[in-house]
């Protein structure tokens, strides 16, 4: 078994898992953080996107052993007990999600973008979301929501 200790959403967590356990399985099966979804398991769909050391990655493409000692943020780490994250709020207001299965991954990708680039162009948003396949929405309302959340995060617009 592989022993891992890592920070997930700000809290230290440990587990002992088979070496072939992916980060996605670690999150879902060991920590019951099921917000990260398994859609293809090979890095095509982006439904499992999480942030590792500040960068959005496919959790299905990392082994648990690789994240030992690292910092992981999942969709469950965005909202506080008091409030939604501005991106989550915008996605709700714009009805950016339909079936919602791709949603956690998309929102994490959007967070990864806005953390690094607070004022992205529409093309940059499209680029940032191109690793997240969505079959329901045509992406349009997602892009609008990311633009809106960016305005709120930049302080140009009051949160609803």
């Amino acid at each position: 078994m592989t022993d891992v200790t890592l920070t997930i959403n700000g809290e230290e967590r440990s587990a002992s898992v088979p070496p072939e356990t992916s980060l996605l399985r670690l999150l879902r099966d060991e920590f019951y953080l099921t917000g990260s979804k398994l859609g293809c398991d090979v890095g095509d769909c982006g439904a499992c996107t999480v942030i590792v050391d500040g960068m959005p990655v496919n959790a299905c493409l990392m082994l648990a052993g690789q994240v030992d000692g690292r910092d992981v943020v999942t969709i469950e780490g965005l909202a506080t007990l008091e409030d939604l994250h501005p991106i989550q709020k915008a996605f709700e207001e714009f009805a950016s999600l339909q079936c919602g299965f791709c949603g956690p991954g998309v929102i994490i990708s959007a967070k990864g973008l806005l953390d690094r680039n607070p004022d992205p162009t529409k093309e940059e948003i499209k680029d940032a979301l191109s690793g997240n396949l969505c079959r329901c929405t045509g992406y349009t309302k997602m892009i609008e929501a990311v633009q809106d959340a960016a305005r709120i995060l930049r302080g140009e617009k009051e949160a609803a």
């Binding site: 078994m1 587990a15 019951y32 917000g35 398994l38 439904a47 007990l81 989550q88 969505c134």
Partner: protein, 463 residues
């Protein structure tokens, strides 16, 4: 050099596993997730009148938080995981299935084959699809056995150890070839398993009135729904002989009847719980693994979950019908359609599924939203040894629309009439009679043409 490196233990091989949780690589830690208790609501949800409001979705908030529980997010104590062995051969007789090696594997709780299924066939129109193929394989994605084990990994390896002996049969893949009925997919039945015909007016007279005749053959491809959530179900058989299925099925009432039929059980002993489905588009409108999971749960006394892999989503679920479409249309010099003749051939794949519905809708819609007095539309659906086709967003309409609207465009260009104007001339109006003679109400084809043209700026750059 390597002394200070921690090397993880590897259990030698799965065959040597002991039946302990650690050796079977089971999860050990449970942690709760967080969610916000206070959020701000959007106004539209609280306003009256309710209709017409841009109200937000309560499920939308859960989606964004990662709190929506799709089937794969649901876990029960002692739950087993199922996998299915797929044929990989498109047409064959099954001579034998040897499951002994799989059954002997540590961690394997049960193996199921088609012979154990009370009524091994299902389908919304014709019951031509086996839950698990037992005598014959009709397409390469057919399942031939199912395994329930303590982990997916073990179930998968057990599937590899199931030995199936096949006697290959000659397959047919091309729907036009299949029309000849020389190689039958479901003998003794004809490959042409559904036909439809719409006839209106006098076709010969209509073509005689035309100044121009346009003919074309159009074809479309096989398409997968690609819901982001793969098909998933959990079955739990209880001591009262009832079974509960948590399923990504999009039509639970009719699905329950299908399951009752395959299990030969009263309907009231079956409960289906639908959660939020992670994308359907017509692809989750019939049962798939549910009867097999129910029986695996009965065999083991434990809840059994199965989630399709992305590959199974392609090879073992329904798809959009490829169409071959022959169009012949008569038009006057000023662009009025006088007659249209349509022949459609649908590649129906290995099983009927929703093909009959697709065929019917395609045939009815095939002339387009236009007033055509003289019309003949004929459609045929063919069995082939390919992945089954079924319901998909539009039931044949996108295919015929590609054909009729491509031909409208050819007519417009040939006659030098603006494509918008050509459509406006021929489009249905309130009270138009449809190809089936139905008087149409709330018809706004022309409004949609004008509105889209205005929004696009169709007339702005000259044409």
């Amino acid at each position: 050099m390597t002394d200070d490196v921690k090397v993880a233990d590897k259990t030698d091989s799965l065959t040597d596993l002991k039946e302990t949780d650690e050796d079977l690589r089971l999860p050990s830690v449970v942690e709760p997730a967080h969610f916000p208790v206070e959020t701000i609501d959007t106004e539209a949800r609280h306003q009256t009148p309710a209709v017409g409001q841009r109200a937000t979705r309560p499920d939308g908030r859960l989606h964004g938080l990662g709190q929506t529980k799709y089937i794969d997010d649901i876990t029960f104590p002692n739950m087993l995981f199922a996998k299915m062995k797929r044929a990989g051969i498109s047409s064959a007789l099954i001579k034998s299935i040897d499951t002994s090696e799989a059954e002997a594997m540590p961690g394997v709780a049960a193996v199921l084959t088609g012979k154990e299924i009370p009524v091994n066939s299902y389908g919304p129109s014709y019951q031509d699809q086996p839950v698990l193929a037992d005598e014959r394989v009709f397409h390469a994605g057919d399942p031939v056995a199912a395994v329930a084990a303590v982990t997916e990994q073990i179930a998968e390896e057990a599937c590899e150890r199931i030995k199936v002996e096949y006697e290959p049969l000659e397959p047919v893949y091309d729907p036009v070839e299949a029309m000849k009925d020389e190689i039958k997919v479901h003998p003794p039945h004809s490959n042409i398993y559904a036909t439809k015909r719409i006839k209106k007016g006098d076709l010969e007279k209509g073509f005689a009135e035309a100044d121009h005749i346009f003919e074309g053959v159009y074809s479309t491809q096989m398409i997968e729904h690609v819901p982001l959530e793969p098909h998933a179900s959990i079955a739990q058989w209880d001591p009262n002989g009832r079974v509960t299925l948590w399923s990504s099925l999009g039509r639970i009432t009719l699905g329950r009847a299908d399951i009752a039929r395959t299990l030969d059980m009263p309907i009231n002993k079956i409960r289906i719980v639908g959660t939020i489905v992670g994308g359907n588009f017509g692809g989750k409108n019939e049962i798939t693994t549910e009867p097999a999971l129910a029986l695996l749960s009965r065999k083991t006394g434990r809840p059994v979950k199965m989630v399709y892999t992305r590959e199974e989503e392609f090879i073992a679920s329904t798809t959009r019908h490829p169409f071959i479409m022959e169009y012949k249309t008569g038009v006057t010099d000023d662009g009025m359609i006088t007659a249209r003749k349509v022949r459609l051939v649908l590649d129906g794949g290995a099983y009927c599924s929703w093909s009959e519905t697709t065929l019917g809708k395609a045939c009815i819609l095939s002339a387009g939203p236009y007033n055509i007095e003289n019309l003949l539309a004929e459609a045929y659906c063919m069995y082939t040894n390919k992945t089954m086709t079924g319901a998909m967003r539009g039931f044949g309409a996108p295919q015929v629309c590609f054909a009729y609207e491509s031909q409208m465009d050819e007519i417009a260009h040939k006659l030098g009439i603006d494509p918008l104007e050509l459509r406006m001339k021929n489009a249905f109006h309130e009270g138009s009679a449809s190809p089936t003679g139905q008087v149409l109400q709330s018809v706004v084809v022309k409004d949609s043409l004008e509105k889209a043209a205005e929004r696009f700026g169709w007339k702005e750059d000259g044409q």
